[in-house]
Symmetry: C2
Subunit: 399 residues, 2 copies
C-alpha cells in the first residue's frame, strides 16, 4: 500500500528534542536536555483534596461536553488575575482555554498564516513554534535576540516589509536563551507593532518564574500585550506554574482574533478537557497559587545558582553563560566547539543537552547549548556538569 501523504507533512521531521529525549531516558544519563518542571513540586496532596471536593459536589457536569471557549469561571479568574497583575483591562470573553499553549501556536498558525506569508521569529527561538507554524508553510524571517531583548532596529525594518504578517516572541526568560526584554525594548516593540499595523503572538510560559535575587531588582515581566492590546495575542500556560500533564493553557486576544481561534479549535478538538478545567478551577479558588509559585521560584533560583556555580567551577572560562534571571534554562556558549559533535562524547559520558542549532532556522548557534536546571537535584546538576567537562576534554583530545 502506497500512502499519499500531504506535501506539508512530507516536508517535516520529528522533533529533534523529542528524539533526543527518547535516547536519554536511560537512568544512567543525567539529562539537561529536557524542559521538564521539577516533579517534586507538583502539589500532589492539594490536587487530591481539590479533586475530592470536586467529586463531592456530585455534579456529573464535570464529565460532560462543554463549550469550545472553556470553563467560564476559570476564564473569569484568568481575566481578573491578568488584569490585576498587569494593570490592563481584559474580559473573560477575550479568554479561551486551550489544550496546552502548544495548541495556541497551532490554532494561531491555522487562522493567520497563508503559504509564503512572512513570520518574524526571534533568533534563536522555541522549536515547538517552528514545528507548529511550519504546518502552514510560512517564510520565516529571523531577528537577532540580544541580551536586553530583540534587536529593534532590525525588527522595525523586518516588520515594515509588506510580506511580514506577524511576530512570534517570548519576552520573558526565553526558550532557549533565558533572556528577558528590558522595559525599554518592550515599549519599542509595542511602538513598532502599532506603527506597522502588525500583530505579535506573545508566548509567556515562564513570566511568573522571576528569581528573587539581587540581579533581578527592577526587572519587569509585564506583557507587551499590556502596552498594545489590539496588536497582541497573549499565550499563557499552567504547565510551568502548576502541572504540565493537565495540558491547560489559555490565550487572551482581541475579540475578532479570538472568534477565529474558536472556530479553529472547534474543528481541532471541540474543546479542552472539561474535567481538568473544573479541577483546576477548584484548586485555584481554594488555594493560593501565588504562594505555590513562590516555592517554585525559590527552588528554581537555587538550582540555577547551583548550576552556574558548577559551571564556573568545572568549566571555568571554557564557556560563556547568558544571564538567566528566571525560567528553566541556561544558554551556554562553548566558543569554537561544534556542540552537535560534542553531543556524542556527552552521551558517552552519560550526560545530555540540546545543541543550539536545534533552535535556529538558519543552522546558527553551532557552539551553543541549552541546559535545563529545573528537573534535577543539586547533586545531579554538579555531577552532570563534571561529566560535561569530561566530555569536552575527550572531544578536544579527538580534534
Amino acid at each position: 500500500m502506497q500512502y499519499e501523504f500531504s506535501e506539508v507533512i512530507n516536508g517535516l521531521k520529528p522533533s529533534f528534542i523529542r528524539e533526543i529525549l527518547k535516547l536519554t531516558v536511560k537512568p544512567e544519563i543525567i539529562s539537561f536536555a529536557g524542559g521538564l518542571p521539577d516533579p517534586t513540586l507538583f502539589p500532589h496532596q492539594t490536587i487530591k483534596d481539590a479533586s475530592n471536593a470536586m467529586f463531592d459536589r456530585q455534579d456529573n457536569g464535570i464529565f460532560q461536553y462543554t463549550t469550545t471557549e472553556g470553563h467560564l469561571g476559570l476564564r473569569q479568574w484568568i481575566a481578573k488575575r491578568f488584569s490585576d497583575a498587569h494593570d490592563v483591562q481584559v474580559d473573560a470573553d477575550q479568554v479561551m482555554i486551550v489544550s496546552g499553549s502548544q495548541q495556541a501556536l497551532d490554532l494561531f498558525g491555522k487562522i493567520y498564516i497563508n503559504p509564503q506569508d512572512g513570520v518574524v521569529m526571534e533568533a534563536p527561538t522555541y522549536l515547538g513554534a517552528i514545528q507548529a507554524f511550519r504546518m502552514y508553510q510560512p517564510e520565516f524571517k529571523e531577528v537577532e535576540l540580544l541580551e536586553d531583548g530583540i534587536d529593534t532596529d532590525q525588527f522595525r525594518t523586518t516588520m515594515t516589509q509588506s510580506d511580514s504578517k506577524f511576530f512570534y516572541g517570548i519576552p520573558n526568560f526565553q526558550n532557549p536563551t533565558g533572556l528577558t526584554y528590558s522595559a525599554d525594548k518592550r515599549q519599542q516593540v509595542a511602538d513598532i507593532l502599532q506603527d506597522s499595523g502588525k500583530l505579535m503572538l506573545e508566548d509567556d510560559p515562564y513570566g511568573a518564574l522571576l528569581f528573587d535575587d539581587p540581579n533581578t531588582q527592577g526587572m519587569t515581566t509585564r506583557p507587551i500585550y499590556a502596552l498594545a492590546p489590539e496588536h497582541v495575542v497573549y499565550m499563557g500556560s499552567f504547565s510551568k506554574v502548576f502541572v504540565p500533564g493537565f495540558r491547560l493553557g489559555w490565550v487572551i486576544a482581541p475579540k475578532p482574533v479570538l472568534a477565529k481561534m474558536v472556530i479553529a479549535k472547534q474543528a481541532a478538538d471541540l474543546h479542552t478537557n472539561s474535567f481538568v478545567q473544573e479541577l483546576l478551577y477548584q484548586y485555584v479558588t481554594t488555594n493560593d497559587l501565588d504562594a505555590h509559585i513562590d516555592v517554585i521560584r525559590q527552588t528554581y533560583s537555587a538550582k540555577k545558582s547551583c548550576m552556574v556555580e558548577a559551571i564556573h567551577t568545572y568549566l571555568g572560562d571554557e564557556v560563556q553563560m547568558a544571564p538567566a534571571n528566571g525560567g528553566m534554562f541556561i544558554w551556554v556558549r562553548v566558543p569554537g566547539v561544534a556542540v552537535m559533535d560534542l553531543l556524542k562524547y556527552a552521551i558517552d559520558n552519560n550526560v545530555a543537552y540540546v545543541p543550539g542549532e536545534a533552535f535556529s532556522l538558519s543552522g546558527e548557534y553551532k557552539d551553543y547549548m541549552r541546559l535545563n536546571f529545573t528537573s534535577l537535584d543539586d547533586e545531579q546538576i554538579i555531577e552532570g556538569i563534571k561529566r560535561l567537562k569530561a566530555a569536552l576534554d575527550a572531544y578536544r583530545v579527538a580534534q
Copy 2:
C-alpha cells in the same frame, strides 16, 4: 487594527450545531439537537475511587509531560481489546491516544489532504468531519448512504477516480442517520479499498452501542479495519462509552500513517492530557468497562423505543424514520416540509432539533431532521415529541 486572517479561516463559519446549542440552553427548551451522552450514566463514584487509588500511589509522574503517542499501558490495553473483539492483530505501536476523536480528524486532514484533493464522504455525514477537513481545502465528493450502508456502485466509481484520495465513513449507527453497514457492504467497501489502493478513515464512536433487541439479531459492527488493515485508519473514542469530558480517543493505523500522525500531533498539542490517561487506565484495569457499556446500551435502547413510540403516537404517518439499532440518533423525514423553516416554530414551542441540511455538503436533506434521544428522560422525550407535533401543526397552518 486590521487583522489579516488566513484564507482558510475566512472561508469558514462557526458550527451550526454549536450555535443552535447556544440558543437552546434555555431550561424551558427540550432539545433533541445535541449529541450529549446521558450524564446520569457517568460512573461518578467509580471514577472517584479510581482517582483516589491513582493519587494514593504517590507517583508525581501522573502530572508530568509524557510521550506524544500516549500512555503505554492504555495503548496496550486498547490494542488487546480491539484485537480480541474483532479477531485481528493490532500492536500497541499502532495505537496513538488523541485529544478526543475529533482531533484525529484534524490530524489526519493535516497529514493527508493537499488543497483540491478529493475526499469521499457519506451523504449525509458528520458535521465535525466536514469542519475539520475544510481547514485543508479538499474537494468533497458525496456518495449516498443507503439503509444497508453506502451505495457501493457509486462508491466504486468515485474511489477509482484518480483525484479521490480517501474515504471518510461511519459504518456503525452513523451520525446523523443512525444507519449501519451490512456485513456484505463492509466486505464490498474493503474490496474497493484494496482494488483502488486508497485509504479509509473509519470513524467508530458508536459501534459499542448496539441495542439488545429482536431487530439486531445477527447484525455486525465489526470494523472495516479488520477486513483491510493496510487500507484503514480506525478512530475510537471513550466519549460515548465512558465520559466525553476527558477528551480521550485513539487511532489505530498502519505504522507509516501513525508515524506521520505523531509528527502532526507533536506540533498540535505535544501530547494528550497525561493525568486523565492515567486515570482512565486505572479505571479500565480495575473495573469492568463492558458491564458499564451494557448499562448504557440498555438505557439507550429503552430511550430509543420510547422516542419511536412517541413518534408513532403523536406524529404518525406525517413522518418516516430510519432504523436505529444503536447509537444516539434517529433520522426522521417529514416529507415535503422545509425542516429548517419548521425550526422557528419548534423553538416557539420550546423544542429543538438539527435540520438535515446541516449534515449535507450539497444542501440536501431539507425535509429531514436529526433527533437525539440519549440525554433526555422518557417524560421529556414524550413531551418533546408532542411539542414537535404542535410546531408542525403551526407550520402547516402558516403555509
